[in-house]
Amino acid sequence: MGPNPKMRKEFFDSTRSSPFPDEVLERVLSLLKSHKDRSAVSLVCKDWYNAESWSRAHVFIGNCYSVSPEIVARRFPRVKSVTLKGKPRFSDFNLVPENWGADVHPWLVVFAAKYPFLEELRLKRMAVSDESLEFLAINFPNFKVLSLLSCDGFSTDGLAAIATHCKNLTQLDIQENGIDDKSGSWLSCFPENFTSLEVLNFANLNTDVNFDALERLVSRCKSLKVLKASKSISLEHLQRLLVCAPQLIELGTGSLMPELTACQYAQLENAFSQLKNLSTLSGLWEASAPYLPLLYPACTNLTFLNLSYAFLQSHELESLLCQCPHLRRLWVLDTVGDKGLEAVGSNCPLLEELRVFPADPFDEEVVHGVTEAGFLAVSYGCRRLHYVLYFCRQMTNAAVATIVQNCPDFTHFRLCIMNPGQPDYLTNEPMDEAFGAVVRTCTKLQRLSVSGLLTDLTFEYIGQYAKNLETLSVAFAGSSDRGMQCMLEGCPKLRKLEIRDCPFGNAALLSGLEKYESMRSLWMSACNVTMNGCRLLAREMPRLNVEVMKDDGSDDSQADKVYVYRSVVGPRRDAPPCKWMKQAAVMGHQRIKIHPTMNCHPGPMHPVKVLQKQEAPGHLTCSNLLSSIIRFPISSSYVHELANNGVCLLTCLNDAYILGMAKDLKRESSGAIQTCEHGGGPVVPVLSPTRLLVVPTMKFKPEIGLRSGRTGLRWAGFSKLRNIFVVNAWEHCVSRT
């Protein structure tokens, strides 16, 4: 589907110099799959830009707030597949407040209009409601692939809607989400004549599913390649499923809790031996020794074994690994210990990726898990290792140096020494030399997570050597601003930087001014950055969104959590209320009513109070101000009320939330409402207000705020201004003329 060729010809410049028709160029470019390549291609010339736009079928948006769905649809008219990522990664660890945003719904609304034939949607860390899932199911008749990773806000009702309406569904992949699990009748919603499913992953769910419905579904979907079941599926169930689907390539078992009779055991063993094509095995909840041998016949062609929910011991792991000669990726729990990792080193010569998760991450006194010895053992045996995620309780500089010498091809090196700020346990020195060795030796390094006791020296090394580094995670590290400066000045390909609990302050933050626009995002929490620093950053870099999240009870001037990202659409309109502006006070006027929020965002309504009328002509008195007036969003009826009172609502200071909203205020015919865009060009008010109500979002100095110039207020057109009311949310207001 798409516009006819004639229209397209007119669309393009008719006097271009391209030697061959657009269709040929598009055909050639349609073979390009990587978005990086496509971005490069689109910068060559206008023709190529257009051809690339027309031929792009899959669009990847790494930060949903960096662009708007309208812009995406305008540029890429023929998209069939979208990948969308929302919240900052640290939301996985509860560092981002609830209702932060990343609602998928506004995207779906635009896609329903512009991409009605959308086939694939892959979401990561987005807020997804049941309504959105239903909307998706109903509005996209060709919809085939749904993947939700680390999303939240929906329940199994949403899944029921997908099952009911998506007649062409081939993939339903629900991973690691915050689901409200209302139990399993959603599976029965797949119609009896529905047979197209190829991928079904519901390993996330906890409650029972309707097994009969599942069995029927699996038996009639002959193309099913991937089945990842939840814990509620018993071994007996599993046997029945495997009998229906011996063609599976990826299997996630349910619970491996021992409960079979000898006869059932034999049947299940037989079922596993029929799985000739299995390349991935996961699940294995409650795996216990007597039942592991069941899996052996299915292991011959395994390339990925995910044991990260199985509390195995070293010998159990070893027995299993002996069955998997082609293993490339292995995820385990640290219950296997160093001994288990020795077995990995001995049995997995082709291993490329290893992830070792902690079974007891929060129990400090626990004396088990893995140490540097295990990692070393793996590095000696698995020379092709290039991806590692390793949680341990002790490490040494020497061990890491040896490990990277054995495996110099690391692209992803994520080491988590679980006790924050822990030194090399043998020498008691910082772990600087360990990571120095990593960045010096592993020239292809793309992703690095550091831990342990680290001084600025680590970051000097990183800045100096990590030329291909794109993602860097830092926690409880560094000695001074210099550390962060080194990172920002050094790593030319840096795209994502996440920092927590480090002594980096404003100087460090501001040293990256030129860098941030070439990055996707920066996260800094529990560092020494202040509100003033953030303001400065936002002021200097208008194309960055600077979001501050404050913790309860923290000092006003501290910027507890800062999230900075580039955006072509400016500050977002759906930010949650600033928690720290707690004291709701009324400006001596009556509370009106609750206005519905602009975006459909699941969450509490934010009461918006409206000024009704002034108490005396020419004067607006106020005793205190309801801080929520400046919250998002303000509806147009509220704006209208303000206009009727002759009040010009102006926001100043560099609070991204407020500016974004101010831009959206509609102009009423009375013209009394103006917006002021900070950092942009001067805004000329249509009419000159006589009264000005300045509502700051943070504590600020009125004298500075009201001066013209770089702090943002523009005075053109305010010649008639007589009264300026500056309200400080924390104190009584000040009236000036």
Partner: protein, 211 residues
């Protein structure tokens, strides 16, 4: 109960935080610690109660309490455990919850065992402590027989275990190393249930001198 008093003192002095994994949902580290503190202090040790099956979660907590207490006893200079930090170590909530659920569900499974009046502690929990899993420079395994037995000192319960061959034995019948290698499951049995396990099991239970 003496055990309770001792552990209480231990906590107040050193402000240890003991809670089940996954407790750090939101809130500041200190807040979480305080909450955890009051949770653990309020534990009721029901070991000598008449009702069937003490709460396995309590038992798990008791075990960790006991571990803490003994750790303190051996190393009084050790600094107090740090308060849990929000979002650290960086393990996804989903994974945290799944692991915690698995652990507690396997504890509960134990109550379904025949003779289900016994509390049940999954052997795997202890197998992780076996000597051999620690590095040569790591802290040595500090769990030993007397700790297991001390838990039940003076009560009607005896610790028993199932060994590799499927036989149920009384803890203390074999040397510790042999026990640690062969133990597959631990079970706290009521004294009278333990008759027939080993000769004079009941008498042993009454007469043995606990350290």
């Amino acid at each position: 109960m003496e055990v309770v008093k001792e552990t209480k003192m231990g906590f107040e002095e050193t402000e240890l935080r003991l809670g089940l994994p996954g407790n750090s949902g939101g809130g500041e580290g200190e807040m979480a610690r305080k909450r955890g503190f009051s949770e653990t202090v309020d534990l009721k040790l029901n070991l000598s109660s008449k009702e069937s099956g003490a709460d396995p979660n309590n038992l798990e907590k008791i075990n960790s309490l006991q571990r803490e207490k003994n750790l303190l006893a051996t190393d009084p200079a050790k600094p107090p455990a740090k308060a849990q930090v929000v979002g650290w170590p960086p393990v996804r909530s989903f994974r945290k919850n799944m692991l915690a659920v698995q652990k507690s569900s396997t504890d509960q499974e134990g109550e379904k065992l025949p003779g289900g009046n016994a509390t049940f502690v999954k052997g795997k929990m202890f197998s992780s402590f076996t000597i051999g899993n620690c590095g040569s420079h790591g802290l040595k395994d500090f769990l030993n027989e007397s700790k297991l037995v001390d838990l039940l000192n003076g009560t009607d319960y005896v610790p028993t275990y199932e060994d590799k061959d499927g036989d149920w034995m009384l803890v203390g019948d074999v040397p510790w190393d042999m026990f640690a290698e062969s133990c597959k499951r631990l079970r706290i049995m009521k004294g009278k249930e333990a008759t027939g396990l080993a000769p004079r099991a009941m008498e042993k239970c009454k007469n043995r001198s606990y350290k």
